[in-house]
Amino acid sequence: MDQFEQLYGELIMEHAMNSHNKRGINSPTCSSLGHNPSCGDKISLEAKIENGKIVDMGFSGEGCAISQSSTSMMIDLLKGKSVDQAKQLIEIFLKMIKRESVTQEEKKLLKNARVFENVSNMPSRAKCATLSWHTLEDLLNKLNNN
């Protein structure tokens, strides 16, 4: 596997260029805008949350392959999960990217999103991978406060 494939494998590129999650959703209950000031990218998340469960989620906006695919895989992973489960998974993902200790079992929980582990040694690109995860984390935290 050359350096290109390590970062831009089929899985990442499929999600980046042709994501089934890049869509508006029916009657969203909340939304949030994530912004990466270094490149001007904006990703908008829409979610439908009912009885503490993420029923549906979609995104829009332009971005690099890393941020687009990371957003798409995050939606695949978290759709159908409870808000509490989603928060735990977001925490594991962010820890993995920050190279904090994460067990193999925890990584398995991230399913496809594990591929972004390769981004963790590129600090400038780590922001791209974590943009939507931080955005969703903020959104879920705000729900609790309301």
């Binding site: 831009y8 270094s38 990218d41 971005g63």
Partner: protein
């Protein structure tokens, strides 16, 4: 093509193509040696020690100031203030001069090409003072049209203008803008950060009121920069920071301030940086701007001619050769600049991607970000060839995903 690469140990010892000199330049051995020699043989604090090495450090620091003054033809070296870099220089002028100058209803004029460091300080003041911040916009050649200068009118009190755009590489006719500004009584600051390593600067010929640049963009160490200001302006201005060295007498309840330039140099100064800057200016003087301009314009023209042959690349640069400097921004259509730069890096090509601290410019151009290759004296046509090969490799890798 040229022999300068061997002067730069980082480039001579690593197999990389460094095309991010607009962000910071590499350092030649003579600069590294000068800094090394300062710390090894006469490191000490300046202006206060009476012992030999402190006297030597003080002399070296003041010699560096003199060297900067001569380099930009400033005359009196007390008009040269050492700062951390361009950003500190513009902020100094904002806090100590423009803040007091601008009143409700006045106008500040800048160009749409300004780096955030020559934009946000003026925007903040305009907001606070209920003044107008007006922009000089660009024509299709990414140049400021002469008619735009009519925005500099009798309400204009201050103009801040870059000499070279860090995104487009456009060279601005600042002399003409200064002339126009002075005709309406406005004061002008020139941002020379992107010009200093590429164009001869003569502040007397320009009649610039203030001029700012960073040492690290002209082969000097990080953390040393320059603010030139006309003496009559600097003398009227309040001090920027308070503390040691910038005072004359301190009583319990009052203080008088030191004369120029010390009034603006509170605290312990970056003597090692100043020594390195002096060595860098010697290095540039030895090469001469004529040779620098010849080499760099050949490189940019060569790069552009090769890039223009790639139908999937869009370049953002003036078609007029005389309006270009050492910067070439581009995009691979359909690909994000961060992805392009990441893949170029796998081919050992170092470029910048992003908005280059010029968000209003990119919004004006209707784009989020660009890839930017920028050139310096050590780059070669072989570097350009490797860049173009790496762009072709990048496109090849991604093309099956492009819709």
């Amino acid at each position: 093509m040229n022999n300068f690469k061997k002067d730069f140990p980082l480039l001579a010892s690593q197999d990389i193509v460094y095309l991010d000199s607009a962000a910071t330049t590499q350092k030649p051995q003579c600069v590294i040696d000068a800094v090394n020699n300062f710390y090894k043989s006469f490191n000490s604090n300046i202006h206060s020690g009476v012992y030999t090495i402190s006297e030597k450090a003080t002399t070296a620091y003041e010699d560096a100031r003199q060297k900067v003054a001569s380099f930009i033809n400033a005359g009196d070296p007390s008009q040269i203030i050492f700062t951390k870099g361009t950003t500190e220089s513009t902020n100094l002028v904002a806090s100590c001069f423009v803040q007091d100058l601008i009143k409700n209803g006045d106008k500040i004029v800048i160009s749409i090409m300004e780096h955030h460091s020559n934009l946000v300080p003026w925007q903040q003041i305009a907001q606070q003072k209920h003044a107008t911040l007006e922009y000089l916009y660009l024509n299709d050649n990414y140049e400021i049209d002469k008619k735009e200068l009519n925005k500099i009118d009798k309400n204009t009190k201050f103009v801040a203008i870059t000499m070279v755009s860090n995104v487009l590489g456009t060279v601005v006719d600042v002399k003409n803008i200064i002339k126009k500004a002075h005709s309406v009584g406005a004061v002008v600051l020139v941002d020379a950060a992107q010009a200093i390593a590429h164009k001869q600067i003569d502040v007397k010929d320009l009649d610039a009121d203030f001029l700012a640049f960073s040492g690290h963009k002209i082969y000097a160490p990080l953390g040393i920069g320059v603010l030139f200001g006309k003496k009559q302006l600097l003398e009227k201005m309040r001090p920027y920071m308070f503390g040691g060295h910038m005072i004359e007498y301190v009583n319990e309840q009052s203080t008088t301030f030191a004369p120029l330039p010390n009034k603006f140099e509170a605290g312990t100064q970056n003597v090692g940086g100043a020594v390195g800057l002096a060595a860098a200016l010697d290095y540039v003087n030895k090469i001469g701007y004529k040779q620098i301009e010849t080499i760099e314009s050949e490189l940019v023209n060569y790069a552009l001619s090769k890039i223009n042959k790639l139908p999937y690349v869009k370049a953002y640069i003036s078609p007029n050769k005389n309006s270009r400097s050492g910067v070439l921004s581009f995009n691979i259509v359909g690909l994000h600049p961060h992805d392009v730069a990441t893949v170029l890096n796998t081919q050992n090509v170092c470029v910048r991607s992003g908005n280059h601290c010029a968000q209003p410019l990119l919004s004006y151009l209707g784009i989020n970000s660009t890839v930017r290759a920028s050139f310096a004296i050590y780059n070669t046509k072989e570097d350009v060839d490797k860049l173009v090969e790496a762009i072709e490799y990048t496109f090849d890798k991604f093309k099956k995903y492009l819709r």
